[in-house]
């Protein structure tokens, strides 16, 4: 175990372990002086690094290998005519990338994906936080309310989309309901409004995720903190704003990140709601990639599209990770 790669893994694991020992030490009181000074605990020497092997192997097989194959595919003129000899199909360099950017709806799809995900996130954040705060203190029936809140989250995407599609039919239950109060909207599943349909259903399906993570953040607030702020005479808003919310920063940043990735990657929802070909207002990235691959059979082009979208997502993701140091999370709410 002396290769560069294993060294890197070891270093990362060491710093993680030292953090763990620091947090434990803050809870259990000062450890023996010598150990504290060297910052290398007993547990580090016998770290079972071999346990990384199963996970690492799986990562390699199901993520790294396909990723490399996908990148290779994106440089090939791979379609139904060349599929049979695909490894040796014509190498065309960056042509697929050029075509994807210049003469396919890729950029439009990127814009749609990002804006829809952001909108859904912006709405779900306050919803989730409010729900978490509301169910933080015990009251009669809290368990039931908490379970009900999780329903949208545990339902499979396919089911959610099918039910909403049925409700959004022309002259369906949504139209009739709104008609009762005198509101007459246009089509939900075709035309410009589809974008808002997608945002709406996404909000419905994903706010419990924010709620869950906000709840976990709230649970980590020590009892003493509540007591202290009560003694200082903080009113509820001030208490929320200055005492509780800092605790939520970590979990909610994580929720934001995961939520955005999930929305941008969401294929099932738009596919089941709108079908293929999708109305041009909801031709989001996964749908476009799917159509290019499995309707037009342009596997190379679609691999290029997928790769571009991977890069597009990876850049802000990387910047964000560096900025909030999520990879260095200690305790939620800790100042960084």
């Amino acid at each position: 175990m002396s290769t560069d790669a294993s060294n890197e893994v070891r270093l990362a694991a060491e710093s993680a372990a030292s953090r763990t020992s620091r947090t434990t030490s803050s809870v259990t009181g000062p450890p023996a002086g010598e150990e504290n000074g060297r910052r290398k605990g007993l547990s580090e020497r016998n770290r079972p690094l071999w346990m990384l092997i199963p996970g690492g192997t799986l990562m390699l097989i199901i993520i790294v290998v396909p990723l490399i194959l996908g990148i290779y595919m994106s440089t090939l003129n791979l379609d139904q005519y060349t599929l049979r000899r695909w490894i040796s199909s014509p190498f065309i360099g960056v042509e697929n990338f050029v075509e994807a950017v210049t003469s396919s709806p890729l950029l439009h799809a990127v814009w749609l994906s990002v804006s829809y995900s952001l909108l859904a996130m912006v709405v779900t954040l306050p919803l989730g936080i409010a729900a978490a705060v509301a169910t933080q203190n015990a009251f009669k029936g809290r368990a039931v309310v908490r379970s009900i809140f999780l329903i949208p989250y545990v339902l499979p995407s396919f089911v959610v989309a099918t039910v909403w599609r049925t409700m959004f039919q022309p002259d369906g239950i949504v139209d009739r309901g709104l008609g009762l109060v005198g509101i007459h909207t246009g089509l939900w599943l075709n035309g410009p409004q589809t974008f808002w349909t997608l945002v709406l259903v996404q909000i419905w399906a994903s706010w419990p995720f924010i709620y869950l993570l906000a709840l976990s953040g709230l649970q980590s607030v020590d009892h003493e903190v509540h007591e202290a702020s009560a003694l200082d005479g903080a009113l509820w808003w001030n208490k929320l704003r200055y005492v509780i919310f800092p605790y939520l920063k970590g979990p909610l940043s994580l929720a934001f990140l995961i939520g955005m990735l999930h929305h941008i990657n969401n294929f099932t929802l738009p596919y089941v709601l709108f079908g293929v070909p999708a109305p041009s207002d909801v031709e989001v990235l996964p749908i476009l990639t799917y159509v290019t691959s499995f309707q037009s059979f342009r596997f190379g082009l679609s691999a290029a599209m997928a790769f571009i979208s991977l890069v597009l997502i990876a850049i802000p993701l990387f910047v964000y990770l560096r900025a909030v140091k999520l990879d260095d999370a200690e305790s939620p709410g800790a100042k960084k």
Binding site: G70, W86, I264, F297
Partner: protein, 453 residues
């Protein structure tokens, strides 16, 4: 947690499947030996067959597979192992993996419109005269059903298994009440008849504008009947006036003639079937024999009949060219034998068995699909099925090109993007032209690739 760490890399997942399968160990078996009397001895061998799942008949399908496997075993001594796929997409993935790895099912069941795409991969056997003899001879099949087996008569890979031609159903009572003595044979007449029947919550025509397939079939049919086969050599003719006329006629039922339920902008075919089954429509367009069980146990039981869809194009008095034979797209299932199969003779023997007259009639009774076997088709005497059998003989193949997938998508996309206009009650002509032009450009690009492929 519903979180995928990598981005939407559907294709890459496919690539993974390809790679993994390619790494898998091969278990090649040698082909069945053929004795001088044409009998194939497959003792100890297993034939792998991949077909579509029949969601309406899960039990019956299992039973049929068990029965046919027993018969095949008695004939050749070989076992048959069935695998099913749920969607065309599943199937494509299977074909991709098998094509690349050179192993997988020996026989595939394919939808007719998917056959050109499969042919383009060159992964399936183009049958020689000798091969055709092994499946019982070309003559045993309904000749129209061979129309989409290959690019021309000498290069055919698809062996017809069943036909599923499209017809229209009509409500005999509603037609009689409106003083109509026989169903329309031209699209203009259809609209006129439909107008007579539209009143009191009843509409002349039931059709689903949001169906994933129906719209392009209407446009194709009307264009072909007007003498435009859409694909002419390497040229796509979607910007032809006949195509625009077809869209205008199809959309016009809603916007001008007002003979369809306005809610049908959100309908798929099954919604249209339901509307017709409740007695609320005179005509049900674009349906197949699979609607028989539903309609026979509905409010219109005993009151409905099938008829060929019109073959006279809008604004004309008679079909042009070969248009009279375009009552339906050529629809059904084909069987193809994998090129990599090491037991092709055994595969042909199996196909011979399931396309025999008796087996085809048996299949029709259980599942409703019409026989591709000519003799079996001719022997159908049920009057309800008669027009459908006629349609099977008057079906015309969609253009045989690997670009068809894109062309079909383009045709359908024009409808999808027009639905908001449609629901407002009028189609803007210039917007329609723009959409058709867009489909033309993309389809032509795809055809260009096909000609190079």
């Amino acid at each position: 947690m519903r979180f995928r760490s990598s981005t939407g890399l559907a294709t890459i997942v496919t690539a993974a499947a390809l790679a993994l399968t390619a790494c898998g160990s091969g278990s090649g078996t040698t082909g069945g030996s053929t004795s001088s009397d044409g009998k194939v001895d497959g003792t100890g061998k297993t034939l792998n067959v991949l077909t579509g799942v029949l969601p309406q008949y899960p039990e019956q399908q299992k039973q049929w597979q068990a029965d046919i496997a027993a018969k095949f075993k008695a004939q050749t001594g070989a076992d048959v192992k069935f695998e099913t796929f749920a969607s065309a997409n599943d199937e494509l993935t299977r074909i991709q993996t098998s094509v690349v790895s050179g192993q997988g099912p020996d026989i595939y069941g394919l939808g007719t419109t998917f056959t050109p795409t499969a042919y383009a991969t060159k992964a399936f056997v183009t049958l020689s005269d000798d091969d055709w003899k092994k499946v019982g001879g070309k003559d045993r099949f309904n000749q129209a059903a061979l129309g989409i087996s290959g690019p021309d008569k000498d290069h055919q890979a698809g062996i017809p298994f069943v036909s599923r031609p499209f017809v229209m159903a009509y409500n005999k009572d509603l037609l009689a009440a409106a003083g109509i003595d026989k169903p329309a044979t031209s699209w203009d007449e259809l609209a006129a008849q439909a107008k007579k029947m539209t009143k009191d919550g009843v509409y002349g025509i039931a059709t689903g504008y949001k169906d994933n397939f129906d719209p392009w079939k209407f446009i194709w049919a009307m264009a072909v009947q007007a003498g435009n086969p859409l694909v002419d050599g390497n040229k796509l003719k979607m910007d032809d006036p006949t195509v625009k006329k077809a869209y205008q006629t199809y959309f016009g039922w809603l916007t001008n003639d007002k003979v369809v339920d306005p809610a049908s902008v959100g309908w798929s075919n099954s919604n249209a079937v339901a509307a017709f089954a409740s007695g609320k429509a005179g005509y049900l367009m674009m349906t197949t024999s699979s609607s028989v069980p539903t309609l026979s146990s509905s409010a219109v039981a005993g009151k409905f009949a099938y008829a060929l869809m019109p073959t006279t194009p809008p604004g004309e008095s008679s079909p042009k060219g070969d248009g009279g034979n375009a009552a339906s797209i050529l629809s059904g299932d084909n069987l193809v034998v994998a090129d990599y199969s090491k037991q092709k003779d055994l595969a042909f023997a199996y196909i011979k068995l399931i396309t025999s007259k008796d087996e085809q009639l048996n299949y029709q009774k259980t599942f409703g699909d019409l026989p591709a076997n000519a003799e079996a088709l001719a022997s159908l005497t049920d009057p309800v099925l008669k027009p459908i059998a006629d349609a099977a003989a008057k079906s015309k193949a969609t253009p045989f090109t690997g670009a068809w997938g894109d062309i079909q998508l383009g045709l359908l996309n024009v409808t999808v993007q027009s639905i908001p206009d449609l629901s407002k009650g009028s189609i803007d002509e210039s917007a329609l032209e723009t959409r058709i032009k867009d489909a033309q450009t993309k389809g032509q690009a795809s055809l260009d690739r096909a000609s190079k492929g």
